[in-house]
Symmetry: C2
Amino acid sequence: MFENSQESRTNLSELGEFGLIDHLTKDIKIKLPSTIKGVGDDAAVMNYEGKETLVSTDFLIEGVHFDLAYMPLKHLGYKAVIVNLSDIYAMNGTATQVIISIAVSNRFPVEALEEFYAGVQLAAKIYNVDVVGGDTTSSTSGFIISVTALGIAEKEKIAYRSGGKPNDLLVVTGDLGAAYMGLQVLEREKEVFKANPNAQPDLDQYTYLIERQLKPEARKDISEMLRQLDIQPTSMIDISDGLSSEIIHLCKSSKTGMNLFEEKIPLDPAVISVCEEFDIDSTTIALSGGEDYELLFTIPQSDFDKIKGNPNMSIIGHMTEESEGIHLITRANQKLPIIARGWNSLKEED
Amino acid sequence: MFENSQESRTNLSELGEFGLIDHLTKDIKIKLPSTIKGVGDDAAVMNYEGKETLVSTDFLIEGVHFDLAYMPLKHLGYKAVIVNLSDIYAMNGTATQVIISIAVSNRFPVEALEEFYAGVQLAAKIYNVDVVGGDTTSSTSGFIISVTALGIAEKEKIAYRSGGKPNDLLVVTGDLGAAYMGLQVLEREKEVFKANPNAQPDLDQYTYLIERQLKPEARKDISEMLRQLDIQPTSMIDISDGLSSEIIHLCKSSKTGMNLFEEKIPLDPAVISVCEEFDIDSTTIALSGGEDYELLFTIPQSDFDKIKGNPNMSIIGHMTEESEGIHLITRANQKLPIIARGWNSLKEED
């Protein structure tokens, strides 16, 4: 689990920079009619036929966003695509293309980058997007990934963060906190492994949590589902940093307040039991955990009946006037202010 | 010259991640009609009204692509934008938007990032592009920049690398080698400074070279000039890695060979004299130096009269049949094969 045993090992310098990118992208085929020219020129060329174009970009940095001790490279490639597609889906758009740039040191053999690209291509296939650019450069240390995702949307379907109104219902897809608890399990096993490299971890009961961390999925289905339900979200965001941060973003952009109901927050039973095991409050995890890549959106109260009982979506709160502030209403009916997590990941430099 | 003296110093953690990006992007205004929504949502939104969309992305990594010992942060922000716009111009397109993501460690105070963004915004203003996205994240070491540039072009105006034909003339804009020699001068002065921090470098005679390295410009003007001359390039690329690599890219994509004439390569007198001083062959520098951000393109022979004597452009060679190979014809009329530089920048990891 904790090591990639590489059968063969080709040094990057054997291919050279241009040879490497040709090698990694040679199997990439373009499929979508909007993709005119993909990998292999100064810029990719697309044609969106008058629809609005969506563009989003993200960094994934070794030691900050992932740890190769337990993140297989194929999963990393998959996740790098997913986290960016999620941003396009969070605009209620259709993702169409991705561009992947990687910076790597000599530590990585060509075979490792092939694994990474296999994950990229798998995600591109499943989510029906074209990989239209690929740059490689050298890094003095570690593995750095930059992903740019492109998408399209009809103008009137785009869901910005800013359109929420007081009394709008707050809806979240799926369940929360599992990706973060998956990370906690993996971190614990890494310590066990360090202490005893022969230990065989039994992770069966944590499968769901670990999958949510290592192989997250983006909610491509929600945009189509909302269209079928005839619901236009008034505001929308994806949950990358944790529910509390995302709620604050929506409220700040929409100039509203929020009441979030603790008892309504959807948790998988596996999250509840692992939180007990780790002696952590599961609501705190749902609020601050992050990396769930679920969608969080607001809808007018008049759409309540369209969504009631839908197993993919939970109504967890409602917007208020801005002056009322942003609060969690606890199971004990206490009203606690919701505060952003801040920049937890910023570490002191060595 | 070699240090940014920061009068004030605000720690990144005082603002937090979301506070930081708000702070850095608060003065950014969008200007172009194609920009619908810029900074501040999950994705930027653009509308290109049926034109082809161009997208390009690049990494700039501290210790690989720049050295903060002599690169002022404002210049770095400027250059980060320029190198990406150059890719759009190399498609014969019009650059319209850029997205800047940065990863930084705690080593950098907020004021340093403000300097960087001042350079980004200056470039955006001069080149008439909107900054439509800005992500910040933490880095375990150093400063990492990812820039994505977007642009538009009419379908029939796009110049790919692949359209060159045997007998097409090879044209380069401006002059070559100055950026690389500027780097050599700066590297030498850094060593002098290390040995004697009180030394006052006299760099007046190197002004052009140093400017080409620290504050390069992209050839926004060429696309318009070619339009006025009624020239449609058959193939085009920008010179980021050096003339030899770019010629190989054009020939490989166009399935042609090339004869490049040494005596025709445009060199500034400052490059010739500094090459003598450093005892380096100036043709080697022009072939391998890189970072000139000039444009290299091919035109049909029938367009010769349109370009003859134009001070912005030099005819330096012609394409041949692929089977004839890619050669430099020296001043002594020797025929030498042109070989790519390979991955020079890939360093062993510490």
